[in-house]
Subunit: 361 residues, 4 copies
């Protein structure tokens, strides 16, 4: 259980970090959508290890193979199976962790849950699992863009205490992709890159905040009770490894305002109902109102650090542990496309569900 996400547009991911490969089955994709492996690869390359000096140096091409569901360049409406082989698994780097629980990793909790675990690279708990999400998200993004003009842009908003100045309503993908940390504020980006490089040298790590905006979302997506759009977005992004918090619109800061300050007054603009402010973050009562959907996700500093740490072994003995091998001193640059993917998956699911909420008048 728990390896499927979505109701109408569903992805099921599989794979361990050091097993044969990883992949995803996308079910519920509408038929006749043009789709190629290139569409997937563009997104996977943004998530790929080894893409820059500030990320892990594991060498994976992360090449997407579409095994089903696409015929003569178009989707069939049947499940799309996507496979990525593991190419640079180095299980030997993890032998020391076979008997020791890495602090703030999932080693101990997997052991308690399953009574067995693949200790190589975290096994199923590895962020390598997110390849399937990004591939599925690429399909979702394509549907959203082509069918209702939705554009999704994620970017690094903060690394540790370096904050970027960004206007979510105008930020452009090109700005985000113009530097290796994926922060559209060039000045802040430089500082962030320096900080991450320094952390790598120290064998330590940092976290930060990713912001993501979805523009062009039609009003009416979502649901009023449990499947509120913000609830599904929260679940989606909080299922990404290393996340510790989620907020939408005004978020935690909004709790310091009064109602008269926080309410978004409606006004008519160009024949449309719009709001003057967007503290709501594009969602009211669980349903999109047509304004930009803006959310933020907190990522903790990477748990893998190259420093000696106290821990316990599988026999319950206090021991010392020191990681070796490859790791990301900061996960945020590679997490940007993952956040976008989860946002896209939630939106496309609600977009398709909304089609069932209509009578033939």
């Amino acid at each position: 259980m728990g390896n499927t996400f979505g109701h109408t547009f569903r992805i099921t991911t599989w794979g361990e970090s050091h097993g044969g490969g990883v992949g995803v089955v996308v079910d519920g994709c509408p038929p006749r959508l043009e789709l190629s492996e290139t569409d997937l690869q563009t997104e996977l390359d943004r998530r790929r290890p080894g893409q820059s000096k500030i990320v892990t140096q594991r060498k994976e091409s992360d090449t997407a193979h579409i095994l089903s569901g696409v015929f003569e360049g178009r989707t069939l409406g049947t499940p799309i199976s996507i496979l990525v082989w593991n190419e640079d698994a180095k299980p030997e780097a993890y032998e020391d962790f076979k008997d020791k629980y890495r602090p703030s990793h999932a080693d101990y909790t997997f052991e308690k849950k399953y009574g067995i675990r693949d200790h190589h690279g975290g096994g199923r708990a590895s962020a390598r699992e997110t390849i399937g999400r990004v591939a599925g998200g690429a399909v979702a993004k394509k549907i959203l863009a082509e069918q209702c003009g939705v554009a999704i842009a994620g970017y690094v908003r903060r690394i540790q205490n370096i904050s970027a100045e960004v206007d979510p309503s105008t930020v452009r993908m090109q700005q985000v992709e113009s530097n290796i940390v994926r922060c559209p504020d060039a000045r802040a980006a430089e500082q962030m890159i320096d900080l991450i490089a320094q952390m790598r040298k120290q064998g330590d790590s940092v976290g930060g905040i990713i912001e993501c905006v979805a523009r062009g979302v039609p009003a009416g997506l979502g649901a009023p009770v449990f499947d509120k759009l913000e609830a599904d977005l929260a679940k989606g992004v909080m299922s990404i490894p290393a996340t510790k918090g989620f907020e939408i619109g005004s978020g935690f800061a909004g709790t310091e305002m009064t109602g008269s300050q926080h309410n978004d007054p409606f006004h008519a603009r160009c024949g449309k109902v719009r709001t003057r402010t967007n503290h709501s973050g594009g969602i009211q009562g669980g349903i999109s109102n047509g304004e930009d959907i803006v959310l933020r996700v907190a990522f903790k500093p990477t748990a893998t650090i190259m420093m000696e740490q106290d821990t316990v072994d599988v026999h319950g003995k206090n021991v010392k542990l020191k990681a070796r091998g490859r790791h990301d001193p900061c996960v945020l640059p590679r997490a940007v496309p993952i956040v976008e993917a989860m946002v896209a998956l939630v939106l496309v699911d609600h977009y398709l569900r909304q089609k069932t909420v209509a009578l033939n008048d």
Copy 2:
């Protein structure tokens, strides 16, 4: 769709604010649990309108009627249908909103989604829907307490910029319930009550942060990928009306730490594997580690205020609107049992699911 929450332990809520009543069907409750209407009433009374001077004065007894699933005081394993009649509906107070969209309410988005809405008290978007959650949560709490010794305590951590000093690992229910704002820090509670009373007088509103702790959760609950425990908790609490943010453990503040500061070192204590710090908030890799689960939820200031506001009517004309009638100047005191209910619902679902992850050795 969207009115059911949970996989193995599931609740389906129904009802509009000013319709016949509201209720819930609880499915998947184990058989032979002692259960009475009193068990439900205790929790419903904490959520009830009119319970103090700082909440809405709508007069509802919110009496729970169990219509099925309980036989001679014990659950049958069949669906438990719980009904609460609406007693003090005042639809006339809402006639002015029939044609005007209240700012930061769900009026406009419901209209866009469904092309129809019950404008009385928000209809389905009313927080009255949460009665079903609290009733279902009361059943969940009982199972957790009796079957695995889990205790859940929510409380107000902050109102606007008044913060309470609370230690989640020792806070007691009695402290929380000792004042009408449900804040265990008596000094802060007093200031909060004053602030809310003042807001009511001004016709304005405030928001804040509720913190919730679950103690005694066994290690091993949750799932590694999409159904991570924190992801399901995020979805659960972000589906509560008026929420804008969620965080677990170190949350957003944790993004300012380095990995070496943030990691929770394991150590052996009394034959158990424990962590020295709890930045993880009791969950690692989506699975509980046996430490306290600590989360925080941001609530925006109530959208209903007694001041004139700009808005648009259903014909797209710019108009003025002023609310009348009863409302909460601050939803947090009544939201505490709702947060607890959602946390309990998520935990009991994962508790029951964990039973399927076991071989007969």
Copy 3:
């Protein structure tokens, strides 16, 4: 679990035979559909006990109360909660069964599953649960009729070895409802009524076959793999109490034909693709082809008989048991609307799901 049926259009039923009442929550109903309690009552009256001399004489008005989801005569798109009070429960008639397992009833299996059971009238296993299905099915029928012109007609095809002559493609509701056994072949109907009356006198019971036809189903509903239309129909009708078999189109008889006899040749008629024969029963590869959907359901003779039977008590002792009280010597006349309801529920679910299988060209 297991009290919800459907994916997009979902019903959740609740209630025990001798508890407070029975009901259903309908979720996923499109908004703005005209709906009244009368729409439900028409169908419930066809299922009602006491409607004729050949059914059980339990006195229930089975009056449907809509508690939510309908506003000024139209659906809101929110859950429709429907409640029917139990009026003529006679728990005392069942005291003898408290400790004895009635043969071919669910008493023993409930005990093994739950370790507890409500022995009054079968509790949750009572056919009284089907009230919720019929009420939900009434909503489904209305959508199908109004939105895509589908008409569903069920009727008794055989009682024990009395078979009716019926042409599914032309049978009319009026013929079915013209006699108390719901068999459109008047001559056979008379014999069936006599047989059932005689069985009642003997304290014995009979079963038979209900046939159901859905006309006007658009081509394209269903799914190619697990959610084949015939698979969902099979699940739907086989979840009705007392069913032992299901067949579609040629069914079991079709196994005696060769492929060249069984295949339904396509031909063009009035600009449409039609089949000359309909051995397929309106479904090919799990998807409707626009021809009549024709299915048959086998019902066993009622398990409750007024004769002494061998059985075992809860202590494992061999004992004798003799039923008292009210019962149906043949369930088929009252089961006709239940079969129709399940067929309608499956079709409306696939009808709504099909809306998600479309690109905006």
Copy 4:
């Protein structure tokens, strides 16, 4: 949607007949089960084309590759991804069907549903999809056998009008596998083989009935309402291509009995509650009673025949069509392991779900 089966133990299949390959993701398998590719291959070989002279001669090794979820020979509790490459696709044999709808195939209905189809070998509608079911079923069978001693045996009960004499309570796997038609009655088997060989020569096809028995199923599996064990079994087997009917226990024949003949009297035997007869087919009120579960499935004659047939082309013109290439003149011998797989998948799902229906006393 629709490519996933099961709730707690779930399989998601993917793949087209002439695409890259076919496969399945198994989710919810308990951890620490010994599992190898050989366990899967044993079952896949029983379903494989080319296994005898009476089945299709397409040359596929159908070799199972486990890509995830198994570590050092044991399951991890994470998704098990299984891949089988397509080796002998001959798309050119299907060029004639690109524009013509094969009678009683899914060509026309796919076109109506999706507006696109892969015309090579039926694409997703091909029985090749069932490879994923058989692989998933092999895992299910292993759990059932090791964890609760359940043994499942399917066999051909009838081909056209040649019926076998079989006692479901004693039939042995070895008898079934002793001949190529998988009928444990050696005399009938011979006649069946002759009939199928003759049909192949004529270019025609035949259908028949497969019976399947599950022995050792513990009492208490199933659910009382929609997820009745027989309902889920019906859905499972009716989702297999070419099925037209399902019956359990006495089935359609049982409708000719009276209640006093049909009821299964309980009696105490060796300290257990047993029934004297088994007209119930091992299930009462949707829940297993510990007796053998016995069901039958009707398969129509194969739609692919080597004779000229009337049909319509994609332009709506009446045309003639004649199949070429490889096909099964009778699907039953290869369908036996598929029926068993679906039965195993349903039983293991309910077996795991039953674990959640228990209090810690």
